[in-house]
Assembly symmetry: C2
Homo-oligomer: 286 residues x 2
């Protein structure tokens, strides 16, 4: 009892010293040290502490089956991208953030099928491949893709006007590791701003926009799963992503194609846009 | 784009640099710096990051009108007590944590009235005074008290078996700054362990107990409000409070009284317990 600011930290650290799991002990020790350091540096009033509690509570309570506000908070503070940077492989395709919209399973679709169930956007064909870092095609790799529509909304955000599964698909690469599917060009969009994270962006005069992108999770046996995006090269905000997630190597041309023969091959009408994305997966540690 | 771990921090800090409110800018800058430093030190896997998001979301979602799990989290990590320590006055009665159970208004009661509406615990009389630090009685000061019952539960935790307002009272000191009321001796108790903070205590092999105490908020015009506890001197866990909130100056004898005349004066039967608590408030800054 009768702790000073620093002896209080020592008491808290001593209380978690018997934690059986050494990694949990390490995490809690480091988090507690930084938490106390931040509080001692900032010297919050009781009211400011209450406001912090209210903010974090609101972030938790805004989350539900189709909305993850703590992921958004992590995203806008650059923490999600930092974790990706820490875990990114030195070789292979670069990763980027998962984002908050991967909360429903993507419907399994056949190669060539369209993930766009509405038909109002600009037609687009995506082709690509999944290979090992040495170039070996990874036959049967899975490619899980999800994207917003031409207006910038994911299906889960508009359950009344978009069919469930719109913009989503789980594909299996062919025996040469290739995949292709039809879609519409996604739009840039604001992250959801009707919650506490939106209030935070407003209070800090930050814009909420992300450049247009298609989310991808690629997996193959014996390889480390990859969570990444294909960014649309000519999208607004390509240089100012609200969640700091753009990597130059992931910026992909969505080129306009006018040849009818080429359109026919993919079952679309010319003109359409075509993006190609080659993925290299690193081998998993044994 | 293409940030390193450290340039990513710079980009996030630059993004909040236009925050109009200088205090908010300072808070966000400091929090972001420490958050990134902790993550870079810990190097969490993607799964560990997900678990952190899930934990914080569960803390928010466990909170409701009568439960504040983020306050509990702040309490068990010593952050609440750190904020109290930072804001404590150099003079006057020492403060301690608010705790998570002050979420309903205490019923206004007359001096001498009982806050115990059940009548099963050990009878207790609390007397005290509210004075300025120079000793001047603060006539009409308000004393808001709340406590658990003899089994360690607050009314809001047992809406079916305790009447609303049990263990709570808002008193006005008399013209000499004095207050007195009847109650039962509160029990030591575990903080609620049926949520994510309870899981954290289990995982760290920490006990959840708090020594017995009566919460007090004392206020008087022109003075800084005081949030504190009277701790029951002979309570278990007086040296091991799960939320690090005991201060020696707040430990109060709840002495057994056997004289019938003394009991009669307060409208109780002997034997009963008597606690006396003198409060000194510091003058508010002009």
């Amino acid at each position: 009892m009768d702790h000073s600011e620093s002896s209080l930290l020592d008491a808290v650290l001593a209380s978690i010293d018997e934690t059986p799991d050494p990694r949990l002990r390490q995490i809690l020790t480091t988090v507690t040290r930084h938490l106390h350091a931040a509080v001692r540096e900032l010297r919050p009033t009781n009211r400011e502490w209450e406001q912090a509690v209210e903010f974090l509570t609101a972030v938790g309570q805004k989350s539900d089956a189709t909305r993850q506000e703590f992921v958004l908070l992590s995203d806008v503070l650059g923490v999600s991208m930092l974790v990706e940077t820490i875990n990114g492989a030195d070789t292979g395709t670069e990763s980027t953030v998962l984002g908050p919209f991967h909360m429903v399973d993507s419907p399994v679709r056949e190669l060539g099928e369209s993930i766009d169930l509405v038909g109002k956007g600009e037609a687009c064909v995506v082709t690509g491949s999944v290979r090992d870092v040495d170039g070996t095609p990874l036959a049967g790799a899975t490619i899980d893709v999800w994207q917003c529509d031409e207006n910038g909304f994911y299906d889960v955000q508009q359950p009344d006007s978009q069919p469930a599964g719109n913009g989503r698909g789980l594909f299996h690469a062919d025996d040469k590791g290739r995949f292709w599917f039809r879609t519409v060009v996604p739009s840039h969009y604001p992250i959801p701003t009707d919650g506490p994270v939106g209030d935070l962006l407003t209070a800090t005069r930050r814009h909420p926009y992300r450049p247009a992108h298609v989310h991808v999770i690629a997996e193959a046996p014996g390889h480390t799963p990859l969570t990444t995006h294909m960014f649309v090269a000519d999208s607004p905000y390509i240089d100012g992503d609200a969640v700091f997630a753009v990597r130059g190597s992931l910026v992909t041309e969505f080129a306009e194609v006018t040849e009818p023969a080429y359109a026919e091959r993919y079952g679309v009408s010319a003109p359409f846009r075509h993006a190609h994305f080659d993925i290299r997966l690193t081998r998993a540690a044994a």
